[in-house]
């Protein structure tokens, strides 16, 4: 996938440098043991507590001093429960989405930041699903605090969290169509309708482009 330009700038005449800018997405490969720090201990404990470890974890990435476990979506709920109950990750601090349109079949990533107060440790879970089948198990049963975070991720990326107690839009209006944080969704570009009057999209309001 490549992205080009800002505000629809095309051809020459643009000296900002943004016009010819091409973005390509890069991914980081998996890490081999030893992971360093407490990460080996977390992986060991999880392997001991969860016999299906090798089947559930797609890859382990240690980058910039942070541990990311890529979990298969079918196993996410089990892994989360074991992390909470046996590895003492009491808090799911945040759920965030990322959209990688270039990763065919795993375009949408859901990223969970977990915190253990008891062990004073942080890890990250990442789950990949496709745009065509954007279903994930909801973790509200494990950590009630993921409720709004999952609603936000649904609102912005269209990831559907199965068994969520009330998966509705949270930041955008209820009747909004489209998922604004996806990469193919424009910045601006949406006409604003208010009480019958229509205001052109922000990107259309200027005479210059």
């Amino acid at each position: 996938m490549s992205e080009k330009g800002m505000f629809g700038i095309q051809g020459s005449g643009d000296t900002s440098g943004f016009g010819g800018l091409v973005n390509t997405t890069a991914t980081i490969g998996s890490t081999e043991r030893p992971f360093g720090g407490y990460f080996d201990q977390v992986a060991d404990d999880l392997e001991r507590a969860y016999p299906l470890f090798s089947d559930a974890i797609e890859k382990v990435v240690v980058d910039r001093g942070e541990l990311t476990l890529f979990v298969k979506r079918d196993r996410l709920f089990d892994v989360a429960k074991i992390l909470r109950d046996q590895l003492r990750f009491e808090m799911c601090i945040s759920v965030s989405g990322v959209h990688y349109p270039s990763e065919i079949g795993r375009e949408l990533h859901s990223v969970y930041s977990l915190l253990s107060i008891t062990r004073n440790q942080r890890i990250r879970l990442e789950v990949c699903v496709s745009e065509k089948d954007p279903h994930l198990p909801s973790l509200v049963e494990v950590w009630a605090g993921t409720n709004w975070h999952e609603r936000e991720t649904y609102d912005m990326f269209g990831i559907i969290f199965d068994n969520h107690p009330g998966l509705t839009r949270i930041l955008m209006p209820d009747d909004w169509s489209g998922f604004p944080q996806r990469k193919d969704y424009p910045l601006g570009g949406i006409e604003i309708e208010y009480k019958g009057a229509t205001i052109p999209a922000p990107s259309e309001r200027r005479s210059y482009k």
Partner: protein, 446 residues
């Protein structure tokens, strides 16, 4: 059945039964009609424009008399798409956007973001000590100004007007310091990837010392008004109860968590910006209620002052050290200075790049128009904001613009506890409970 033609008060038949909408109009006529039915359930919309709901927060309360049986929050009224916008600007410009999220703690937003960018760039250890100490000092000043709003408006919402006057008086002094240092009172974009926008002005330290002394003295005014005040205690003690188990499952951090007796503060637990080198305490209570949270905020003011004093001592020794990384490929090129009209480009710097150094001009041009490239990867950096854990999840694809910026805002998360705190209580307790969460809707909706 409906005899209304009033647009502000009408009733209609729905699948849930007859619904009466009251937003004004003829009260007597409405009461007569409602009196004819046996339904007692009232759903009350408090907000989004209610003065006591802390910004544009909509609370949907289901009532039985004065008792709340169910509460839900409606948010999103202040959603401005900041996270999406940052994907269309370079990494340095991102600071200008994220500072506007939680508008009461702009310095914290900037710091969380910049620590993340620096971690992605791998330059965390290259940031000079002077820049880090100034960051800490600014954050602690910001903690004071933010807590002042929490305490002042919190008390105001409970009907106590004087604390608000005093709190905003103190806040003004802190904002004056911000203006002196950065040229702006809020949304400063002062902290930049690699360091700071500019160094302290010459007279800064002496003014900071005077302000610290002044603040320590005048904080007592509010303390005398609120601590031990029997009316205030009756409105806040045992109200908005949330214990440790509730906090952990809901992911609650900050003063709400510390009011359960757990001394969890990222400044101590997972130090960043050299917080391990400062002496300060973490105030806690174990009352789990609104009053306990107020007390914690009040005690944190003194701890922030202690940290600022230590910062001043350190800064006196670090005189002359740069406040930006040495790498000219990353350091924001413009040399800003505070003028009569705020922060702007230093004329000396413009003279140099336009007249003397071609290289400086090229760097300036490349960095300002295109920005620096950040190696691909993702990081999550968390800091202790006045409201709890503020986290920045940053993803880079190797380009000059962020691939994804997500802020884990403590207000967004903590507001989820409204139902747990309010259900079963009275309407008036909702105001106290929400005030004790101290949500800032700019941060909630981003």
């Amino acid at each position: 059945m409906s005899t209304f033609t009033d647009p502000y008060a009408s009733s209609q038949e729905t699948t849930e039964g007859r619904v009466y909408s009251v937003t004004g109009g003829d009260w007597d006529a409405l009461v007569t009609e409602i009196g004819a039915t046996k339904e007692e359930r009232v759903v009350l919309n408090m907000g989004p424009q209610h003065p006591s709901t802390h910004g544009v927060l909509r609370l949907i309360l289901e009532l039985e008399g004065e008792t709340i049986t169910e509460t839900r929050c409606g948010i999103g009224y202040l959603h401005t798409g900041i996270e999406k916008n940052t994907e269309f600007r370079n990494w340095t410009q991102g600071v200008t956007f994220v500072t506007r999220m939680d508008y009461l703690s702009p310095i914290f937003n900037e710091t969380a973001y910049c620590l993340g960018v620096e971690k992605l760039l791998g330059i965390t250890n290259d940031v000079t000590e002077r820049a880090t100490v100034i960051r800490v000092m600014m954050m602690e000043f910001n903690r004071i100004s933010s807590h002042m709003v929490a305490l002042g408006t919190g008390a105001l919402e409970l009907g106590a007007l004087s604390p608000m006057i005093f709190a905003f008086r103190e806040r003004e002094k802190v904002l004056d310091i911000f203006e002196l240092l950065s040229g702006l009172r809020m949304n400063m974009a002062y902290i930049r990837p690699g360091g700071l926008a500019q160094d302290l002005p010459d007279d800064a330290l002496s003014k900071i010392k005077a302000t610290v002394k002044d603040l320590r003295h005048s904080f007592k005014d509010n303390e005398k008004l609120l601590v031990g005040n029997s009316i205030f205690m009756k409105r806040t003690q045992g109200i908005g109860y949330l214990d440790l188990a509730g906090c952990t499952t809901l992911g609650i951090t900050g003063p709400v968590l510390r009011a359960t007796g757990l001394a969890w503060d990222l400044r101590k637990a997972q130090p960043y910006c050299g917080y391990e080198n400062y002496e300060f305490d973490i105030p806690t209570t174990d009352s789990c209620d609104v009053y306990g949270r107020f007390l914690i905020r009040m005690q944190e003011l003194e701890q922030s002052l202690r940290i600022i004093e230590q910062c001043v001592l350190k800064l006196e020794k670090l005189e002359g050290q740069p406040v930006m990384v040495a790498d000219k490929k990353i350091a924001w090129p413009s040399q800003l200075s505070v003028g009569a009209d705020g922060m702007g480009n230093s004329l000396n710097h413009i003279r140099e790049i336009m007249g003397e150094s071609m290289e400086a001009l090229i760097h300036h041009f490349k960095l300002v128009t295109e920005g620096f490239r950040v190696p691909a990867g993702q990081v999550y950096t968390a800091i202790e904001s006045p409201r709890g854990e503020l986290g920045a999840h940053l993803v880079s694809d190797g380009g000059t613009r962020p691939y994804r910026v997500h802020f884990r805002d403590p207000s967004f998360n903590n507001l989820q506890s409204t139902a747990a705190m309010c259900e079963g209580g009275q309407i008036s307790d909702v105001i106290a409970a929400v005030a004790s969460i101290d949500p800032v809707m700019g941060g909630v909706d981003r």
